[in-house]
Structure formats: structure tokens, C-alpha cells
Amino acid sequence: MTLMSKLTIICAILIAGGLLAGCSVEPAERHEADRRERETGWRGIALENAPPKPDFTLADTNGDPFDFRAQTDGYITFLFFGYTSCPDVCPVHMASLAAVKRDLPVELQRRMKVVFVTTDPERDTPERTSSWLANFDPDFVGLRGEKATVDSIQLAMGLPASVYQPPDEEGFYIVGHASQVIGFSPDGSIRVIYPFGTRQADWKHDIPKLAGASSGS
């Protein structure tokens, strides 16, 4: 083989390597989070002029009333509507939040609450919800209420009401529900939406910011 041929092949390999290395095939969601961070400083979707923190009371997994606004006051709070039989979005969100919480400094861990409201009160008994949440983090709060009550809370927050899909031959059914987690600053004045697709790195970026945020800051 001539020197020229060798050089041609080397150049081809280097160009191919460069093209491969420089080739951006990253999914669009990442670019969206990057863009949001550049524009707003948040990797989630920060709502401007957010309405006040929702005010509702539902039963926790011990059967005690949980006043959402009062009992999350002063905490970084993440609220999610889902169900324990959910095969994809719910366990991924809960696992992500649990993993992120474990990696936070202890001080921030103590200031963070995750509240899970079931959209499937028929199957999600308090025991089942408690044991499912304990798989992720025993401190996660599970709430349960009548479907109509939970639907009205979601609608009041601008979220769609949950929808039961027809059951399969074994009686299993899917519940359609909003897939986003809603984050609140400790004073409740900042609301950040985290759609499905939010990565652990995104939560880790936003949580300290959420901890120190208030509408005046």
C-alpha cells in the first residue's frame, strides 16, 4: 500500500471519528431542559404568577387527616398524582425523587417532602400505598380520598382528572393521569412543573434553588 493510500485511510478514520464524536444525537428533551435553564435558571418548568399552594385535606396511610398546605408549609414539596399499579411513570418518578433525596445534604433531606396522592383509591388501600412508597422512601407521604375529591383537586390545579381505562380479561386496568410532578418552594410561592422525562440531574440542580426560593427573591 502506498503512503498516500495509508494517509487517505488515516484521514478517513479521523474524519469518521470526529463526525461520530461531534454528532449530536441527544434527544430533544435534554435540549428543552438546557434551554429552560438558560432562560429561567430552572431545569423544570417554572410557572410565573403561580397560584397559591393548593389547600386540601386527605387521609394519609395511617388514616389521619393530612392538611397539605399546613403540613408542607416550610418544606420543599413535591406533589404527584399517580397509582401503585402504574407500570411506568409513577415508579420512575418515585425512584428518581428517592435517589435524589438520598444524595442531598442531610439538611436539605429534612426540608423535603414528597406527597403522593393516589388516583386509584379502589386498589390503593392505605396498606398497599404505604408498602409501595416504602420501597422508595419510608418518609414519602401517601394520601387517599374519594376519586371525585381527588379529581376536583387536580382540576383546581389545572391538571386533568384521572381516567380509568377498561379492564383487561384479568381485570387489570390502567389509570390515565397527569404525569408531571409539581414542586413547591418552602413558602409555597414558587411552583415548578417537572414533566415525565425529568432526570435525576435536573432535580439535583433545582432542589437547592427551590429550597432558597421565594417570590421576593
Binding site: 485511510i9 488515516i10 444525537v25 434527544p27 420512575v92 422525562g197
Partner: protein
């Protein structure tokens, strides 16, 4: 059932019910058919045995359940696929090529290009580019969501692996200067270079691959644990394969030296 021809991420919940991947079967059968045509009665039974083991391993690595789990659920299984496709299969296939087949192929005019591409430095360089590029988060997240992207990664692993192993397991010893000590050094260098992606995966603060982090869960493994297992698998699994080769070369070299210069 949503039929796929190649394993890739589907974002549907995992279950253990079998799914067909016809593209995988065609690919493995076509590769085995090409081998059969190229060999055309050459070689010994042991050569064919290596080749059959290679094609079987390739099929296992690409098809359900390993292919499906690695395609969109667990980065640790994706790493297992890498080890099998890039490090195990090429070695077995090269061991399965009879010398006469290689000579016939090389004499057809491919020798200069192959000789250049399989130069140890070039082969190791290409293999490292493939290794690093196919493990970058942007590449994995961007390509594994499509069947063609996933196919491209698998083919790059296979071709990169063939180039990587060629200087060590060449069907004919056409580089006499590249003897046992250099082969062992070459493989040792590969184990060192393997450390970079291993450290990147094992000690990462958050999961790097969105496709696996956001995949419907399989068992109770968290995305972080899955990634750490992937990193350890790369280091330990890759190390075992490469050190097995190093040890084999050393013992053969030692036996040969002993035979040539017996102790007084």
C-alpha cells in the same frame, strides 16, 4: 403485539413474555451463511466449533431477553451485550476462520487495506473510538430509541471487536514482529483504557443514560445501582476476558520457549 425487527427502547412496561426479533435472526443467519460460503469446506472441526460458538453467542446477545433488556431497560444488560458482541464474539469468530480461507480472501485484493486496518495501533485506536462513542450518554440516548440506531451500535461493536482482536488472533501470523510479549502488552493497554468508561459509569453522581433512567422498572434495581453494575461489569467482565487472553498467550509462549530451549 408491537413487532420490532431489532431490540431497542420501547418505553413499555417490561414483562417476561417472549417477543420475536426477526431482524436479529436474519442478521445472525446471514452472517453464519456468509461464513459457510467463505469457508467452503476448509478447516477443521475445532475451527468450525469456534465459529458456531461465536454465532450462538451473537444470537444470545442480540435476541430476547438479553437484547430486549439491554435495548431499553437496563444499562447493566446493555453492558453485558457490549462484552459479548465486542469482546467475546469477534474472538470466537476469528478463531473459527481457517487459514486457507483467510489466504484466499487476502489474495483477492483485500490484503493491503486489511493489513493497514489491523495494524495494532490502528485497530486499538478504532476500537477505543467505538468504545467511547457508543458509551457516550448522547449517543446511547439518541440511538437506542430507534431500531436502526440500536442496530448501528451493535454492528459497530462487532466490527470494532474484530479489528481489536485481529492482531492477537489473526488466522495467519502475518506480523512476525508482533509476538507474544507485544500481544500481552497490547491487551494490557486495552484493560487500562477500559478503566476510563468504567470510572465514568461507576462513580457518576447521577444516572447518565436517560433511556435507562426513565425506563419502566425491572425488579427493584434503581437506575443508579444499574449503572454501577454496568460499570463494574465493564471493568470486571472486560478484565476477565482480556486477562484470560493474556494468560493464555503467556502460557503458550512459555511452553514454546520451554520446548525450544529446554532446561539443562
Amino acid at each position: 403485539m408491537n413487532l420490532q425487527w431489532w431490540c431497542s427502547a420501547q418505553a413499555i412496561p417490561w414483562d417476561w413474555s417472549w417477543r420475536p426479533y426477526p431482524g436479529v435472526w436474519l442478521f445472525v443467519l446471514a452472517a453464519a451463511g456468509l461464513y459457510g460460503l467463505a469457508v467452503r469446506g476448509d478447516g477443521t472441526g475445532s475451527r468450525r466449533g469456534w465459529a458456531i460458538a461465536g454465532f450462538l453467542t451473537l444470537w444470545i446477545a442480540l435476541d430476547w431477553p438479553i437484547g430486549a433488556l439491554g435495548g431499553g431497560y437496563l444499562s447493566s444488560v446493555h453492558m453485558l451485550q457490549y462484552l459479548l458482541i465486542a469482546l467475546v464474539v469477534p474472538a470466537l469468530l476469528l478463531l473459527g476462520i481457517p487459514e486457507s480461507t483467510w489466504t484466499r480472501f487476502a489474495d483477492s485484493g483485500a490484503r493491503p487495506v486489511l493489513r493497514f486496518l489491523t495494524h495494532p495501533l490502528i485497530a486499538l485506536g478504532i476500537f477505543q473510538i467505538v468504545l467511547i462513542w457508543t458509551h457516550l450518554p448522547a449517543t446511547v440516548d439518541g440511538l437506542m430509541a430507534s431500531q436502526w440506531g440500536s442496530f448501528l451500535i451493535d454492528v459497530l461493536w462487532l466490527l470494532g471487536g474484530v479489528l481489536f482482536w485481529w492482531p492477537v488472533i489473526s488466522p495467519v501470523p502475518d506480523r512476525t514482529w508482533f509476538g507474544a510479549p507485544l500481544k500481552m502488552g497490547y491487551l494490557f493497554l486495552a484493560t487500562v483504557l477500559n478503566t476510563m468508561p468504567y470510572a465514568f459509569l461507576t462513580f457518576g453522581e447521577s444516572p447518565y443514560y436517560g433511556i435507562y433512567e426513565l425506563a419502566p422498572p425491572v425488579g427493584r434495581l434503581t437506575a443508579g445501582e444499574d449503572q454501577q453494575i454496568a460499570g463494574l461489569l465493564m471493568k470486571v467482565g472486560g478484565g476477565v476476558i482480556l486477562w484470560t487472553a493474556i494468560t493464555t498467550i503467556w502460557f503458550r509462549w512459555y511452553s514454546r520457549e520451554e520446548a525450544e530451549c529446554p532446561a539443562p
